[in-house]
């Protein structure tokens, strides 16, 4: 399995993603440069967290125009597996590869702490190995993670099962207190209609080793490895 981690100027979780995939999970990993017009034949693209292009204009807005994003877009539209983590999620939204937008956290505070999120959909390569209702613990670190979409988009997301993760308490209850940023309907992650593109605000790469306090994040990557290797047979296409 060959992963490609995209490096934008201002990415700061790219090394963490490479470490989790290469060192912890033993995968082949290519670092893809934002100025490249190819993703060099990787099987799965990871858009890491950070502040790509300084988050100037809006988080992810300039990154969405980078040459590599055209290649990522072609790959995604052809059914390729893509995960955007935190800033990577914001980039996917700005690039139009996922619906909706991020606005500032309702608290206006940059939130950096562990959260819990409940798996809502297993119809993605990154969650095919998990079960609906499973509760995962991993950290968030963002100032603009307050997911927003017009009501029609929300309805479509619910209808097609495109909400992949919701913030919850450690028991799995989705409550206002467990929601760190005010995101509508407790949304922590969504997927494309086809299921191959996923955006998630919490950081799985920062929860991939016991020394970091949680290994739940590894489950997402392991799921992708197994799915893409055909071991789990994820049903793509809703």
């Amino acid at each position: 399995m060959r992963f490609g981690v995209v490096v934008f100027p201002g990415s700061n979780c790219d090394r963490d993603c490479v470490h989790a995939l290469r060192t912890v999970l033993g995968q082949d990993v290519a670092e893809l440069w934002h100025g490249d017009d190819s993703i060099r034949g990787v099987d799965c693209v990871v858009l890491p967290g950070g502040f790509a292009y300084g988050d100037y204009l809006r988080a992810g807005a300039i990154a969405a125009t980078a040459p590599v994003m055209e290649a990522v877009g072609r790959f995604a539209r052809a059914g390729g597996a893509v995960i955007g983590i935190c800033n990577g999620f914001q980039i996917l939204l700005e690039a139009g590869l996922l619906p909706g937008a991020m606005i500032r956290n309702a608290s206006l505070q940059f939130r950096c702490r562990d959260v819990w999120m409940r798996v809502e959909s297993t119809q993605t390569p990154f969650t095919a190995g998990l079960r609906v209702g499973q509760v995962l613990q991993m950290p968030i670190a963002h100032g603009e993670g307050n997911y927003y979409a017009p009501p029609s988009v929300f309805d479509a997301l619910e209808q097609h099962g495109q909400i992949v993760f919701r913030y919850c308490d450690p028991t799995g209850a989705v409550t206002a207190d467990a929601n760190p940023n005010g995101a509508a309907r407790g949304i922590a992650g969504i997927r494309s209609a086809q299921g191959n593109v996923v955006g998630v605000m919490p950081h799985p790469e920062r929860a991939s080793e016991a020394i970091l306090g949680s290994t739940d994040g590894r489950l997402l990557f392991q799921s992708a490895i197994d799915s893409l290797a055909g071991l789990r047979g994820v049903t793509v296409g809703a």
Binding site: R58, L98, P99, N105, L108, Y148, V153
Partner: protein
């Protein structure tokens, strides 16, 4: 050359957490009469005099604003340029493109 000023603000109904925080700050200073504060972004473009306005709206639609959550208006220093104009409600192809996948 002409100068185009673009003012981007959140659409009505989209939580303006910054605006609310600033309003609280003003109230703390005693300006209790302030009912609402809206925060936005100001962008200035220097362009040739005959530059088509339609293209500026395209720039807003494609990059300078996010039509899903923001609207914009243009202020022009050009003679006969329309002073203010909001296109967010009039035409928004991008929200649909961003809408369903």
């Amino acid at each position: 050359m002409a100068t185009i000023r673009i003012i981007v603000t959140l659409k009505p109904g989209v939580l303006d957490a910054q605006g609310q925080a600033v309003r609280r700050g003003l109230r703390a200073l005693g300006y209790g009469a302030v009912q609402d504060v809206k925060m936005g972004r100001y962008i200035e473009l220097t362009i040739p005099d005959a530059y088509p306005q339609e293209e500026i709206h395209q720039m807003c639609d494609r990059l300078l604003a996010n039509p899903l959550i923001e609207e914009w208006r243009l202020e022009s220093s050009r003679p006969n340029g329309d002073r203010t104009r909001s296109r967010a409600e009039a035409r928004s192809p991008k929200p649909e493109a961003r809408g369903l996948h």
